[in-house]
Symmetry: C2
Subunit: 235 residues, 2 copies
């Protein structure tokens, strides 16, 4: 199929010997036993990255929120639901990782109080949801000592470049891959996407393509940049 | 497969000539272009009802929230996302319906304001979500003149019978099918479920079973009760 042929065309174990952690999908932040806040992430980009990284020879751990996608063969998959669960799983996996790619759409906020029973119409507090901030997973990974090579994602509805560059700097990332959401093509629900990739002293546009070939291009770019930054580790 | 064999075993066109509307799945209430409030409904019960109703000879319209299920052959499917969209589609379809089964998990509340751009951490209002009530679809269908025969669903975490009987009466339903959620077996994420079915002057327990056979049992019960209540229409 197309996935296999694209992955075969990118033959070469350019990630051999590296432990790579990818997070993918949305998180779900419960309001009560049945209701939750989530987002439109399908997990397709993160799963495509995990598959392509396995094909490139990496030892891959995929930390995944709730999605409807087949488990990538050859990857260790850790399924989580909330941002706090994803935080714990990613930080644990990243202690021994060479590369972390944060492709999950982690909820910025969770409900301050989670009801133990299903809230009824008219119940006190039912007209408002108080929120509190979730941890910033990619920033915490980038603050580890030693830290893996950290790639963030930014999905934006406007001012893409400024937000992406702001995140790259403020979170001390090695690279950020930014894409538009809420447009005609690309983004969360789509099989295709386009990425604007930024790092400290450079940038590259990966044109609209299916997420499988986009994943291969991004991983090759990561391998190039790591090689340049850290020539001893990846000669 | 098992679905076909269960449906074949229930052979008989006991719903022939009837127009049946089923709503299924969750609704998604947007917070901004990427975030939403939703619930754990898989749509499996409503889709099983639509399939079984087609097999029983009904003319079936399925109004479905976002789910990951194949479209039932022979049913007209109307896909919606929000409670307001489901409200419009169901009310329109029910104007000429004989039976309405409200198996969707419609959000009781939507966000009062939907942001046009993705909300940023720390943005004004990001710490709180103001809610407003959605219309009560099943109650509005039950208030139509003429009205179809109306079956509601109740998913409860406690005090199942009282909540179900309260909804039956206050919403003027002909029948309500109640099930536990948040328990070891059954409910939203499961292939199986058990139902406590109540009507004005009776009740019946449908024991834990796969949702396909449960759908057949519920439709047969609906046909029996309609027959008793309205002997001219269903002799």
């Amino acid at each position: 199929d197309i996935v296999q042929s694209v992955l075969a065309a990118s033959a070469g174990s350019y990630l051999a010997g590296l432990k790579l952690v990818v997070s993918a999908g949305p998180t779900r932040e419960p309001l009560d036993p049945v209701r939750f806040i989530s987002n439109r992430s399908s997990g397709k980009m993160g799963y495509a990255l995990a598959r392509a990284a396995v094909a490139a020879g990496a030892d891959v751990t995929l930390v995944s929120g709730p999605v409807h996608l087949p488990v990538p063969a050859g990857a260790e998959v850790i399924k989580v639901e909330t941002a706090l669960q994803m935080h714990a799983a990613v930080l644990n996996a990243c202690r021994s990782a060479d590369v972390y790619i944060g492709a999950a759409a982690v909820a910025d906020y969770r409900a301050k109080q989670v009801a133990e029973h299903k809230l009824k119409k008219g119940e006190t507090g039912a007209g408002m949801i108080q929120l509190e901030k979730n941890p910033d997973i990619v920033a915490e990974v980038a603050a580890l000592h030693p830290k893996p090579w950290v790639v963030g994602f930014a999905a934006e509805t406007d001012d893409l470049e400024n937000y992406a560059l702001g995140k790259l700097r403020s979170k001390n990332l090695d690279m950020i891959a930014a894409n538009w959401v809420g447009r005609a093509e690309g983004g969360f629900d789509s099989e295709r996407n386009a990425l604007q990739v930024f790092w400290r002293d450079g940038r590259k546009t990966l044109e609209m393509a299916d997420k499988t070939s986009l994943a291969v291009q991004l991983l090759q770019l990561i391998a190039e940049r790591m090689h340049e930054k850290n020539p001893i580790k990846n000669p």
